[in-house]
Symmetry: C2
Subunit: 436 residues, 2 copies
């Protein structure tokens, strides 16, 4: 289970000007109760479908079966998707695959395909990728909840042109579509061409879809333990109805961020994993937080940092710049294999404090030192610790932040499930392309 340490967000840690006191939390209890009621209502009204994903068992068997075919038949899995159709899978793959998976030969990869997540329309990247891969041996998973994503349609058009030439009618074996069960352009296309497809429940938005077929199908193709992900997530959904914030971590996360924004002016939320494998979790969080809460002039700005690397980049600003941030450290207690525990030897005299230590020891020491340095500089921060980085703990972490984000939406008194602000740029894009 995840553990949470909020002490450095409280006045005992960082003082009254920058930390919360028990009174702040007590005063907020009516707000927290309202948030609990709101989330229940959203769930009952069917707009918070992400809460049901860990317990939807019918879907997962179909996913597993189709994934087995892909693992057997293809050298490469290419996912075409953007935003919520890409970030969840990127996070899963970054955390749970070998760090250099695509560079390993097929045997060292355990017979699994290589993975490419294409979430942009930069021609340099996308066309270079198509030129690099053996497309006959490549499965394309096309993901768009709405079926109306310009970028994904543009990618698909280029892919289809090549597959038609290479494979004739056989191209259909190489394409699997993930989209709405009934609506949208991609569903029409699936029906017309009789393509293999998977469904995203209509009431699950892109940024909350990692535990639907959007994230789970390609993850299963890559050998990721999708049952473990769901189990970990389920553990969290069970705790999220308690009105006692000492028992309900997502609610405490939401309350802490909301109160530090409103009462202490902390407008920036830094996600700071001390673990390369959680680097893309931070990107996933940035979308979730920014797109759910940034509305009507409200919301805090999420920011990514990576430890220990960013001690040599952003830490100066975090320590001595404007005191306008709250930082969330993510730590991992145990590395994945004992292989990672080799100790350091024969260091020069100035570095003898490293002798006998593992890299993990160094990383942990830096994480704790940085959290403490920030505390001393009166910069509020909190720490979430994973026992080890695996499917189960990652599932818990994902669901913790999905629920925390929904609670935060309720606290800001605004639905976290829409994104009206992105429409204008889509309209203007169409206008420019239609005119040229």
């Amino acid at each position: 289970m995840l553990t949470f340490d909020f002490r450095n967000c409280m006045e005992d840690g960082v003082g009254r000007d920058h930390g919360l006191c028990e009174q702040d939390l007590n005063d907020a209890q009516p707000l927290l109760d309202r948030a609990l009621t709101q989330l229940k209502r959203w769930h009952e009204d069917g707009v918070a479908g992400f809460l049901d994903l860990p317990s939807m068992n019918g879907v997962i068997d179909g996913i597993s079966k189709e994934a087995l075919r892909v693992r057997g038949d293809f050298e490469n899995l290419v996912v075409l998707g953007i935003g919520g159709s890409a970030l969840g899978l990127r996070c899963l793959a970054g955390a749970l695959l070998h760090p250099f998976h695509n560079l390993l030969d097929r045997e060292a990869r355990g017979g699994l395909p290589r993975l490419f997540v294409c979430d942009n329309v930069d021609p340099d990247t996308f066309i270079s990728l198509l030129d690099t891969l053996d497309l006959k041996k490549t499965c394309f998973n096309v993901i768009s909840k709405s079926g109306g994503t310009t970028e994904t349609q543009a990618q698909l058009a280029l892919v289809l042109e090549r597959l038609h030439v290479l494979l004739g009618d056989g191209w259909r074996n190489n394409v699997i579509v993930t989209t709405d069960p009934t609506a949208g352009e991609l569903r029409k296309y699936v029906n017309a061409e009789k393509l293999k497809s998977l469904s995203v429940p209509s009431n699950v938005g892109g940024r909350f879809s990692v535990l639907s077929a959007v994230g789970l199908f390609p993850a299963a193709c890559m050998g990721i333990d999708i049952f473990g992900l769901r189990e970990g997530a389920l553990l969290v959904t069970k705790t999220a109805s308690s009105d006692d914030i000492t028992l309900n971590a997502p609610l405490r996360l939401a309350a802490t961020h909301y109160l530090l924004d409103h009462k202490r002016g902390k407008k920036i939320s830094v996600m700071f994993p001390y673990c390369d494998g959680l680097s893309l979790f931070a990107d996933w969080y940035v979308q979730l937080w920014a797109e759910s809460l940034g509305k009507e002039g409200k919301g805090t700005t999420p920011l990514k940092a990576i430890g220990a690397t960013d001690q040599h980049s952003q830490l100066q600003l975090f320590m001595e710049g404007p005191n306008d941030k709250v930082l969330t450290f993510l730590g991992v207690r145990e590395p994945r294999t004992s292989r990672q525990k080799m100790t350091l030897k024969n260091l020069p005299a100035n570095f003898n404090y490293l002798n006998g230590k593992t890299l993990g020891d160094v990383l942990h020491a830096e994480q704790h030192a940085t959290a403490d340095a920030l505390r001393q500089a009166k910069r509020p921060n909190l720490t979430i610790t994973l026992p080890t980085l695996n499917a189960r703990s990652l599932g818990s972490l994902l669901m913790t932040f999905e629920i925390a984000t929904a609670f935060a939406g309720a606290l800001y008194d605004r639905s976290p499930f829409d994104q009206p602000g992105v429409e204008l740029s889509k309209v203007l894009t169409k206008k420019i392309l239609s005119a040229s």
Copy 2:
């Protein structure tokens, strides 16, 4: 040459509450003059050595010669460094290598080694990499300006242990050190072991070192045109002494950010390239801006976004969240090869605005649409356009922001060349490791 469009930062674009007016710039002229004088003084005092890097010709021949040896002898180049010792090279490689360089076979790579930049001490990543590579065919470039970087020493200790076993006395061929010309632990080590080494001028700090041996040597090993980088940079240094901001882009960048912070409350600076190849430029910028300016409670917080991807992630917040940001779009006019210009065909009816367009057209349309949508939402933004992404334009871009950052330091009335705030966490790290 780069072109700059500041119109969406001005009141005509985004209104008086969020944009600057000509009067703001005129009133600031004494401040700008002071900044020009200050940069000149820093240069004369020898603390702004980065300004001289593009014209230091002696160094570059040694770099080129040694790089040729590495390209001939090794399959892999692994750089051990963190912060300023890694981010510049990451930026160069991300922009100028094939997007899937490490996956290409040696012939398709043009005989060049694969590149790995190790800027963390996460055991999962680092030990997995050492386990994956054929270390006999791997050259390690160990980079630390001070020679006193804990993370780099820890990495080096693990590498040396393996190289000693594999290569006996021959290990020296596989290690090249880049550090201070005379001072520090690594220089001592170079002298004691008679290792190959390169020097970083003492008056060039890590985050300003990309155009020294720190960035140029490994870049040259990877076949990057280091002369083009320097030429592009040199073009910019020549314009940076003008007191007319319409001629001095770095000064106008600094002034715009400073004034939008002080007079319009824009506390966050978003770097928003519409080009995958400039993704790591944004990371480089984040360090440069954060570590140089985040001091004494001042400085704005830099943030990375990527277009078009982040239209599906952070854009909602940028459009409708707090109006506390200024955004910098980076666009590239022409893709690198005509191969990237294939047109889209056979789109479904709803997407017929895409027919006949290239991916580059789509990306450009999205960039301009997003800038305009932000303008309509009264969010100040500016656009920098590169003619194409190559060594020359990238060199100009890097130097533009180095000088702009130095000017901003002068405007905030604080040296941009130190980082006192990172020391405490280093002290506490040593304490933890020494005690355990």
